[in-house]
Amino acid sequence: MDSLEVKPDRDASPGPGSTFSLRPGVRLEPLGDGSAVLYSQELDVSLSLNHTAALLCSFADGQHTLAMVVQEMSQVFPDDDIEESALVACLRDLEAGHFLQWD
């Protein structure tokens, strides 16, 4: 896995009140074009994020709930239908790649 985009689909067990954060040793480096790089020092693995996934990861602070994230992303992308299940699927991929953890 070396790039990630938010796509719909996938079962979701985390609920609207769930929060998530980057795993210890994982850094999020935003770039000027809105994309970002996630980097795990432990695994020496990097991941390229498109601007949607980069925005999603910017909420990985253990404070933002999924419901808050959906609301904030809907404001950033008013023309798009932001589905919680799509966000959870993306977060699950990041979790599987050891970049992220559910709190």
Partner: protein, 279 residues
């Protein structure tokens, strides 16, 4: 010029070679001709020693020892490889990227890609199309300043290359070590001009299937460029991941980057020339 005298200065480390048989010495001299030779002064000198004992050949450098008995490659080839490898291991203040580099009118263009993707072919194609060659294989980049450096290692051409590429290259000097080609220039004299900052990045993707169109150049986001650059950085002892990430992110921020896929080396070369001349 005797190898036992002035050491080679490679990536900031001086290497003194001892015990090299005369025939290998001549070839090694040719292979490393682009690198400067320096009186070590106070700098640390690393010794590379060749010992031939009862028909066996041993090579010692940097605390490691190799038994080269029975190997088919020429001794000079082993020595060159181990010297460069040790120089990379000891490189301080530089990232060393698995990358080709050429100077374009708009800045230095790096060529990266997985092993076997055709980096060397493409880099040499760009060189023979009129761009100055920085390196065909390993590109040192200063940490912090992000200045790319010429790496004048002899070109190792032991694979099958496109006939069109071979025809474009200048003739190989008579007597030059087999499977190698002299690096055009070096780190001293008129050839010593530094490379301009990195401004272009081509990520070469091997593609045996004919793509539609036959060649395809897809612009990459800055994060994709940073991701590929980070992957190309050689992990040396003491590699500082955090610093590498910051530097590769900065490097990517100043680059226009493409993923180039092509079904033939010629196709990749022609498309790359087109891309770089359209800017």
């Amino acid at each position: 010029m005797g190898l036992d005298k002035s050491p080679w200065l490679i990536l900031g480390t001086s290497f003194q070679c001892r015990g090299v048989p005369p025939e290998a010495k001549t070839d090694l001299d040719a292979l490393l001709a682009g690198f400067p030779r320096r009186d070590p002064g106070e700098a640390e000198v690393v010794e590379l020693r060749v010992e031939q004992v009862s028909g066996s050949t041993f090579l010692t450098v940097g605390g490691s020892r190799w038994d080269l008995t029975g190997t088919t490659d020429p001794l000079s080839s082993h020595l060159e490889y181990r010297l460069i490898d040790e120089a990379i291991r000891r490189a301080r203040g530089r990232w060393v990227l698995h990358a080709g580099a050429v100077e374009t009118p708009g800045g230095t263009c790096l060529v990266i890609g997985e092993s076997g993707a055709g980096k060397t072919s493409l880099t040499l194609w760009l060189w023979t199309s009129g761009l100055r060659l920085g390196t065909d294989d390993l590109c040192p980049i200063s940490q912090g300043a992000l200045a790319p450096e010429v790496f004048p290692r002899a070109l190792h051409m032991d694979a099958e290359y496109s006939m069109r590429l071979v025809e474009k290259m200048p003739p190989r000097p008579a007597g030059y070590p087999q499977d190698y080609y002299p690096f055009p220039g070096g780190l001293e004299g008129e050839d010593a001009a530094p490379l301009p900052p990195v401004s272009r990045l081509i990520v070469l993707q091997r593609d045996s299937r004919p793509p539609r169109p036959e060649t395809e150049a897809v612009p990459l986001s800055q994060s994709e460029a940073a991701h590929h650059l980070l992957g190309a950085a050689i992990r040396t002892p003491g590699f500082d991941f955090g610093r590498a990430l910051e530097d590769m992110v900065r490097l990517a921020s100043g680059c226009r980057a493409w993923r180039l896929s092509a079904s033939t080396p010629e196709g990749a070369g022609e498309r790359a020339v087109e891309l770089l001349s359209s800017l």
